[in-house]
């Protein structure tokens, strides 16, 4: 009897322990499921942080890039490294041609794209400044974005059942300066493991792509403005130099005018004195017998006074006080007279030689 009771007690204890174990096991399951959700959230948050960090770094770096090509290339690198994409390109309509051009594309050499013709509705759509969009399936859609992709990257999306795996996202570019408005087109051709790489290109990527497009617009706008600012600065420097040079010339001209005016004033008064000297010298010469030593001396006084009068005329001409008139003259004689004046001015250490053609 007691053995049976003991056996029952053991069985009861065993059942209780089994029930406890089963309950604990259920709790473990719940904990494990909760932990998986936590990991998933952490990973999603981490992936978002990585994207935000990459975009912030791009915004900082691209503000210092001086070539539009470098900005586009850096943006494409960011896309390739951080988004599940197989193709990306900056696409713009050509002015008035019904064609589109790719300014840069992932993994393709810069400048390797030729303009491509697109249908009118695709051209209209592109020029209308389309809103950001995401299209999950190449086979089920005749959207302009897919036909635009066919035009700029022919054969990229396979024309078979794999087309349904292709996803496309399109975000607008405002354009600035030489960088025309258009769209940033990104495509994933096949899905990636969702847990590791965020799956294929998805609608949730649109805000980040739009942010990148905005950064590109800003960076290119900055580049354009910086370039124009530099050009204007260079022009301003040149203009200031010219102004300074003109001011110097004006100053010199004013100086010369002042000197001329002074010299003219002195020459005028001196000329009046010479007129008196020449007058009295003429009267005196007339009263003396020709050939006498006194008459000869008066002749020398008259000659010296006439030379002085010539000098004053030149000074008056410099000061523009003498009336200008046109007359025939001997260039050789005028040159000799001018040189006579110069010799007095330049000093003894400068020799002036004249070689004249007497016919002139």
């Amino acid at each position: 009897m007691s053995g049976s009771l003991a056996g029952d007690a053991w069985q009861a204890e065993l059942d209780r322990l089994r029930a406890e174990n089963a309950a604990l096991n259920e709790q473990v399951k719940l904990l494990v499921l909760t932990e998986q959700r936590l990991y998933r959230s952490q990973n999603e948050l981490d992936a978002q942080l990585v994207l935000v960090r990459a975009l912030a770094l791009f915004a900082l770096e691209s503000s210092m890039l001086e070539e539009p090509g470098s900005t586009l290339s850096r943006a494409l690198d960011l896309l390739g490294d951080n988004f599940p994409i197989d193709w990306a390109g900056f696409v713009h309509p050509s002015v008035g041609t019904g064609e589109v051009v790719v300014s840069a594309a992932l993994g393709e050499a810069a400048g390797s794209h030729v303009p491509r013709a697109v249908a009118d509705d695709v051209d209209t759509w592109l020029r209308s400044g389309p809103a950001a969009l995401w299209s999950p399936n190449a086979t089920e859609s005749d959207l302009p974005c897919w036909r635009l992709l066919d035009a700029v990257a022919p054969g990229l999306v396979p024309a078979n059942e794999h087309a349904r795996l292709a996803n496309l996202a399109c975000v607008p570019l405002r354009g600035t300066g030489a960088f025309a408005p258009g769209v940033l087109v990104t495509v994933s051709l096949h899905p990636r493991p969702a847990f590791l790489r965020g799956g294929a290109l998805a609608e949730r990527h649109l805000p980040y792509l739009s942010l990148l497009a905005n950064h590109v617009d800003h960076a290119l706008s900055n580049t354009h403005l910086t370039r124009r600012l530099r050009e204007r600065s260079a022009e301003l420097v040149h203009s200031v130099e010219r102004l300074e040079s003109t001011q110097q010339e004006l100053l010199q001209a004013q100086k010369m005018e002042a000197i001329g005016r002074l010299a003219g004033g002195v020459a005028h008064d001196f000329n009046n004195l010479l007129t008196v000297i020449l007058g009295y010298a003429g009267t005196l010469a007339a009263s003396l017998s020709s050939g006498s030593p006194a008459h000869e001396n008066v002749g020398k006084i008259t000659a010296a006074a006439q030379r002085a009068a010539n000098l004053t005329r030149q000074l008056l001409a410099l000061g523009r006080r003498q009336v200008q008139r046109r007359e025939h003259f001997s260039l050789s004689e005028e040159s000799e007279r001018t040189v006579d004046l110069l010799r007095r001015l330049v000093g003894e250490d400068i020799r002036i030689e004249l070689r004249l053609d007497r016919a002139l």
């Binding site: 174990n21 494990v32 499921l33 990991y39 990636r192 847990f195």
Partner: protein, 398 residues
């Protein structure tokens, strides 16, 4: 001249440009000498043939081994981006590198083991110091391969390596052998000469729930656990009521297989096995490591990031303690694809790569990849592992 090794790493999308990058970087470590051996790992989106072709052009006649990976490890960096390439280039007076490529591993892993053993026996003149193997990570039973290999080797060798991956797409992996790229195959390199190889391995998983028993298994396929379909047991522990074995589930939840009595040699009580495939029709799970013979006792396990990071660093410390006065000529790190980005997010390098370098040798040339399975010895026997770091330091005796 001793032994020189250089490392290169590139994330360029163009394979030819990436090869040019890694060759230029690795060449600086060789001091102008040509490479005799290249170990290379590329992510699956690269043009695999262009990788080996580019290396053969850069280093004419060079021996090449390696495989595609889920991500690459080079110096202090783990990189699981879609386009990543890592290169170790070596020239040595003390060490010789014999490369092998065995086709048909996927269909006959035991035959591949025997064939590799025969090839190694032919090259090993009693001076073999280590054998590194890189099998396809999607097919073949690696435990079967290792058992056949060790059974036929003329003398014991340190065996380590990693199973090739393909960016968690689980479609096709690649293995390299000199100028050839293969799939479903096995790449290997035997290192002979004056030197030694030190290895350490660590997982970082905790057992969860009650002990269970594999009640029906065949090769790497586990059909039933506790007389229920294996998938139904797994699903109970996976969030979101998954209809298929997705990457997230495969990486989070695994199976711990207990060591035979006395064989753990101070290692953890379990070897971890991760399922790589599901037969939806039967609910059977495929484990490339196999190894469910015996009494079939198992525990479900979950990875723990703190244990993972601490265990990995302990591996480096263990090797450093084993060779305190010596510096490795290069270090190989084979780390599970499930321990990278999806466990540590953007902090993989800081968590399980750079701390290992700091602990072992911050200046040592360091290469590796994120695998679909790691191979490393416990005691004297080589095992296939999942969710581990397998760390190997190669030393040369001058």
């Amino acid at each position: 001249m001793g032994t020189q090794a250089g490392i290169g790493r590139s994330t360029r999308r163009s394979t030819s440009e990436a090869v040019r990058d890694v060759v230029a970087q690795a060449a600086t470590g060789l001091g102008g000498a040509p490479a005799q051996f290249c170990l290379v790992h590329a992510t699956a989106r690269h043009d695999q043939q262009a990788v080996v072709d580019g290396l053969r052009v850069a280093f004419p006649g060079v021996r090449i081994a390696g495989c595609s990976g889920e991500g690459i490890i080079a110096e202090g960096v783990s990189d699981e981006s879609e386009f990543a390439l890592a290169l170790l280039a070596v020239r040595s007076d003390e060490l010789t590198f014999h490369t092998f490529l065995l086709h048909g591993y996927d269909g006959d892993p035991a035959g591949s083991g025997a064939a590799l053993a025969a090839a190694v026996n032919g090259a090993d003149r009693g001076d073999g110091i280590g054998l590194f193997v890189f099998p396809d990570g999607l097919t073949g039973n690696c435990e079967t391969f290792l058992a056949a290999l060790e059974a036929d080797l003329a003398r014991p060798l340190t065996i380590a390596g990693g199973a090739a991956g393909d960016g968690l797409m689980f479609r096709l992996t690649h293995q390299y052998g000199d100028e050839t790229v293969a799939t479903g195959a096995l790449s290997a390199v035997l290192v002979t000469g004056r030197g030694r190889v030190e290895t350490a391995v660590s997982h970082g998983c905790d057992a969860i729930g009650l002990e269970r028993r594999v009640t029906r298994a065949e090769g790497g396929w586990v059909h039933e656990i506790d007389d229920r379909t294996a998938w139904s047991v797994f699903r109970e522990y996976l969030d979101g009521d998954p209809q298929d074995l997705n990457t997230e589930g495969a990486i989070y939840l695994s199976v711990g297989v207990p060591f035979p009595e006395g064989a753990s040699d101070g290692y953890e009580p379990y070897i971890v096995r991760t399922p790589m495939g599901l037969d939806p029709a039967t609910g059977a799970l495929f484990f490339p490591g196999g190894g469910f013979a015996g009494d079939g006792r198992i525990r479900l396990t979950r990875r723990d990031p703190v244990r993972v990071a601490n265990g990995a660093r302990a591996c480096a410390e263990r090797i450093a303690r084993a060779c305190p006065e010596r510096r490795p000529v290069f270090v190989l790190q084979f780390d599970c694809a499930g321990r990278g980005k999806q466990l540590f997010g953007s902090r993989v390098s800081e968590s399980i790569v750079q701390p290992l370098r700091d602990a072992l040798d911050p200046a040592a040339p360091w290469i590796g990849f994120h695998t679909y399975g790691e191979i490393a010895p416990i005691g004297a026997k080589a095992y296939y592992h999942n969710l581990t770091t397998a760390l190997c330091a190669v030393y040369a005796d001058p």
